[in-house]
């Protein structure tokens, strides 16, 4: 063992850290793998523990343990694998990426520039980002978020301004009410000289009370109308902006989040933000106004009375906070129990055929009963505590009113206050405690609002990674595709495609062959520019696809995937989707070509048959043929078939193959198929193995070569022979 500092004559190229002892299960260590020009070093606590000549290593290997990652190396001489180190799961993703980079050194002898990395934790506070997120909810500038939201409020600022003014006016009117009541009691009902009371003046006061009420309610109605009008428009604007942004994001960015997450942001989060801005915030402002105005009024009238009114305030606020904290835990548990009950029910109903087939109705009934019992117990507990504590809290709030009653009662008896004034102060006191109840909820509402608005802006601020170049071209594609030495890996760190170099001529039919997970679909996604390549380039007719506008590129490509998606709508709408303004004749023609016209004609509603989520149940093959008809109508220059006929029976597949053969005559076609007979019309076959091009050539050439393709064909023939024997 020697110290790393004493061995620095070789240049350090790169390194990564590890934290678990290679051999001792639980022992943690402070280790580093250092790559130098001639040596690979394992350094633990600054001491070199192991040293291997880089010329002897063929590759570095990562293997996933449970909660840890193993890193080892393979020797060129005997292909043997030797353990280098282990590291825990926290660092494993980054380590995998660095190993990938290091492997490029062992392959080419040079290190590439930095491999792209996505930050997984906030650099400021170290907290991890939420799934697919790049904004830290803790460190986000909350003031900035509010200012940015103003952009969406601005078009309706007058509506909002008017409604806020009305909030203040209504608050003022509410404050006037007890004052008029005081006049009625003191000057008329409790008048020292009832005989001298002016009845018409009294009537005016009563009428003014009535008018006050009518005006207040009328204004409330107008204010609600203004808010509904502006909030609905604002929410639509916000949702449209979000939807538009999501549509412009790359598949890679969209895939980082689940469909449910995106939907939640567009629906629930926008509603949450809207509700806070338009309903909650003005309501808080109103309550605050009342609180301040009443407070000032009482303070000016009698400072001691003010103190008495405010005396229970801290207790009320604190009690509410504690109560909510306690109830939050209980509600959380109750919610969880409800969720478990729902999941159980969903599980049973989804698998009802299995339940019935195995005669498990009673057992499932007991399972459901058990979870609902758990939910019931929690429900009883929360309701019971709520019913006991809530009246106590309400009593605490009204306690201040008793103090006031005692205080002002004494004043009345002492002749220092009138009965009207007492009723006025009682009304004001009850007004002051209302806002206090709200104070306890403000942090929760603000937190929900901030979370939702941050999530919205996170999408709006998302950088469009697959974007059109400044001078992106739109042109008529001829169909020459050149894949020039491309490499690509998804964000997980593993390289999926490695130095793929394939050149496809216009009108060629190329078959992509290889085992699952070798990168066939990834290559197709790259040609469609769903992702951008990490290295190399893809050109169409000599133009880099990054310089072609995405709309122009994809509008001239047709795709049929293995998993067909039909939108909710009719068969006709689904086929016509590919071409705006398609005529009925065109739709029927392509349906005949795709072999779906005949089964459509057997449906009672023909082309008007509803399909999709709630529509008619079509078989996998029928859906596939509709998808093929859709692609045919699109009449693309480049046709991509990703296991397009995998779910069809052999006879139907043959029919569609013929249709596709007609279709692919004048266009470049790239097809992926596990069933190799599907590719019998292909001019050339590209065999991928472990992300690299292993073989390339025609069927005959590859059969003669007796390589991977030959093996695959033979294995399939054997299977076919076995099936025919079984059938006989």
């Amino acid at each position: 063992m020697s110290d790393i500092k004493n061995n620095n004559d070789d240049k350090k190229l790169m390194s990564f850290k590890f934290n678990l002892d290679p051999m001792l299960a639980h022992k943690r260590c402070n280790g580093e793998i250092v790559l130098e020009e001639k040596r690979l070093l394992v350094v633990i606590d600054k001491k070199i523990e192991k040293e291997i000549n880089t010329s002897e290593i063929s590759e570095i290997i990562t293997e996933q343990g449970v909660g840890c990652l193993y890193i080892s190396y393979r020797l060129k001489a005997d292909d043997s694998v030797h353990l280098l180190c282990r590291t825990d799961a926290k660092t494993s993703k980054r380590t995998s990426k660095l190993v990938r980079k290091m492997n490029l050194f062992f392959e080419d002898g040079v290190l590439p520039e930095d491999v792209k990395e996505t930050a997984e934790a906030c650099p400021k506070c170290g907290r991890p980002y939420k799934n697919g997120s790049t904004v830290c909810l803790h460190c986000v500038d909350k003031k900035k978020t509010l200012i940015r939201l103003w952009k969406y409020v601005k078009p309706y600022k007058w509506f909002v301004f008017m409604s806020i003014v009305m909030y203040f006016v209504i608050s003022a009117l509410r404050l006037l009410n007890p004052h008029i009541n005081k006049i009625i009691v003191d000057d008329y009902i409790q008048s020292e000289t009832p005989a001298s009371v002016n009845i018409s003046a009294f009537a005016i006061v009563v009428v003014s009370l009535f008018v006050l009420e009518v005006v207040s309610r009328g204004m409330s109605s107008v204010r609600s109308h203004l808010l509904i009008h502006s909030s609905n428009k604002m929410i639509v604007d916000l949702r449209n902006a979000l939807f538009d942004k999501v549509q412009r994001l790359s598949v890679s960015k969209i895939s980082e989040r689940t469909a449910g997450d995106l939907m939640r942001r567009i629906t629930t989060d926008t509603a949450q933000v809207n509700n806070f801005l338009v309903n909650y915030l003005p309501s808080v402002l109103e309550q605050l106004t009342v609180f301040i105005a009443v407070g000032i009024f009482i303070l000016l009238y009698d400072a001691r009375l003010f103190l008495l009114v405010m005396l229970p305030t801290p207790f009320v606020v604190l009690s509410f906070r504690l109560f909510w904290k306690f109830m939050h835990t209980l509600f959380h548990k109750r919610w969880q129990a409800g969720s478990v009950a729902n999941t159980t029910l969903h599980d049973i109903f989804s698998g009802i055929r299995v339940v019935k087939a195995y005669g498990m109705e009673r057992r499932e009934g007991e399972r459901y009963e058990k979870v609902t019992r758990g939910e019931k117990i929690l429900q009883e507990k929360t309701d019971c505590i709520w019913s006991i504590i809530m009246p106590i809290l309400k009593f605490m709030m009204s306690f201040g009113e008793f103090i006031i009653l005692y205080y002002v009662g004494n004043k009345i008896l002492g002749g220092k206050m009138t009965l009207g004034e007492m009723s006025q102060f009682s009304a004001y006191a009850s007004m002051i405690y209302g806002p206090l109840r709200m104070v306890a909820h403000i942090p929760r509402h603000v937190m929900n609002f901030m979370t939702s608005s941050t999530k919205i802006f996170e999408i709006l601020d998302e950088e469009i990674d697959v974007s059109d170049a400044e001078n992106a071209k739109s042109f008529d594609i001829v169909g020459d595709i050149d894949i020039n030495n491309i490499s690509f890996g998804y964000d997980s760190g593993k390289e999926v495609l490695h130095k793929i170099d394939v050149h496809i001529k216009k009108g060629e039919f190329i078959g992509l062959v290889g085992a699952s997970g070798v990168g066939k679909s990834t290559l197709i996604n790259l040609i469609m520019r769903m992702y951008d390549v990490d290295e190399g380039s893809i050109t169409i007719d000599g133009v880099d696809i990054r310089d072609i506008s995405q709309e122009s590129l994809r509008s001239q490509m047709g795709v049929v995937l293995q998993e067909t998606f039909l939108f909710s709508g009719t068969v006709y709408q689904n086929i016509a989707y590919a071409k705006e303004g398609a005529t009925r004749d065109e739709v029927i023609k392509v349906s005949k070509l795709a072999g779906c016209h005949s089964f459509i004609m057997r449906l009672p509603d023909g082309y008007n048959t509803k399909v999709g989520e709630r529509g008619n149940t079509l078989s996998g093959g029928e859906k596939q043929r509709i998808a093929i008809a859709r692609a045919l109508l699109h009449n693309p220059k480049i046709l991509i078939l990703d296991e397009a006929t995998a779910s069809l029976d052999t006879e139907t597949e043959k029919q569609i193959q013929d249709a596709l053969a007609n279709l692919s005559k004048e266009r470049t076609t790239i097809a992926i198929a596990h069933r190799l007979s599907t590719l019998r019309n292909a001019n050339r076959l590209v065999v991928l193995d472990k992300g690299r091009v292993a073989e390339i050539g025609s069927h005959d050439e590859l059969m003669a070569k007796e390589g991977i393709y030959y093996g695959l064909v033979m294995a399939q023939r054997e299977m076919t022979d076995m099936s025919s024997l079984a059938d006989n």
């Binding site: 678990l20 290679p22 051999m23 001792l24 299960a25 639980h26 943690r28 590759e59 570095i60 290997i61 990562t62 293997e63 996933q64 343990g65 449970v66 909660g67 840890c68 193993y70 080892s72 393979r74 043997s80 694998v81 030797h82 353990l83 282990r86 825990d88 799961a89 926290k90 494993s92 993703k93 995998s96 190993v99 990938r100 492997n103 907290r127 991890p128 939420k130 799934n131 909810l137 803790h138 835990t329 959380h332 548990k333 969880q336 969720s339 979370t451 593993k494 390289e495 999926v496 490695h498 085992a515 699952s516 193995d689 472990k690 992300g691």
Partner: protein
């Protein structure tokens, strides 16, 4: 559970395990040693010949319930060679070696005390003391779902990075720790 990367140990498509019989591996027919930092096995075949596997993988069949029983032994192609029904079938150094190998693969620090547990914005932030005395901070998302209860008393916690932490006895935790985790139980 060993998943290979592109540069993984296995080359080419994974072959299928077509055997239908389970082979019992015990001290009578197998011996183990360490080679190049990995576990290596020599097994006596039914025909009496010895077969050497330069590298074998141990894999718990029931990783939550049975830590030292039902251990599959896989070859470098991840094909099962046989099952060790009980680690205790082996004694001395071999027993020690198999236990260490399993603990090396299943890196699951055991939690002794929960120092703090805070929930915010859908994450729960944990600060715990592990059995080896380390103070560890980790974050969990969707906390309810990522706490796996095993029986009435044991729990496995999965954090956002893929780390696993084990609480061997929830009831055995000190009162303060228990109170903190109670919400999720």
């Amino acid at each position: 559970m060993f998943g290979h990367s592109r540069h993984g140990g296995h080359r080419g498509p994974l072959p299928m395990d077509t055997s239908t019989e389970v082979k019992k591996i015990d001290a009578g027919n197998a011996s183990f040693c360490m080679k190049n930092g990995f576990l290596s096995m020599t097994i006596k075949e039914e025909n009496g010949e010895e077969k050497v596997y330069d590298r074998v993988f141990l894999h718990r069949d029931f990783p939550f319930e049975l830590l030292w029983e039902y251990i599959s032994v896989l070859d470098s192609d991840q094909i099962e060679i046989g099952i060790i029904y009980k680690i205790d079938d082996f004694e001395g150094e071999t027993h020690e070696m198999l236990v260490t190998e399993l603990e090396r693969k299943y890196y699951e620090p055991r939690i002794k005390t929960i120092v703090s547990l805070k929930e915010r914005y859908g994450f729960s932030y944990w600060e715990v003391v592990c059995e080896d005395g380390r103070n560890v901070k980790f974050t969990m998302q969707d906390t309810f779902r990522n706490i796996i209860r095993v029986g009435d008393d044991r729990a496995i916690l999965l954090d956002v990075d893929g780390n696993r932490f084990v609480i061997e006895s929830i009831l055995g935790l000190d009162r303060k720790s228990h109170k903190k985790i109670e919400l999720y139980m």
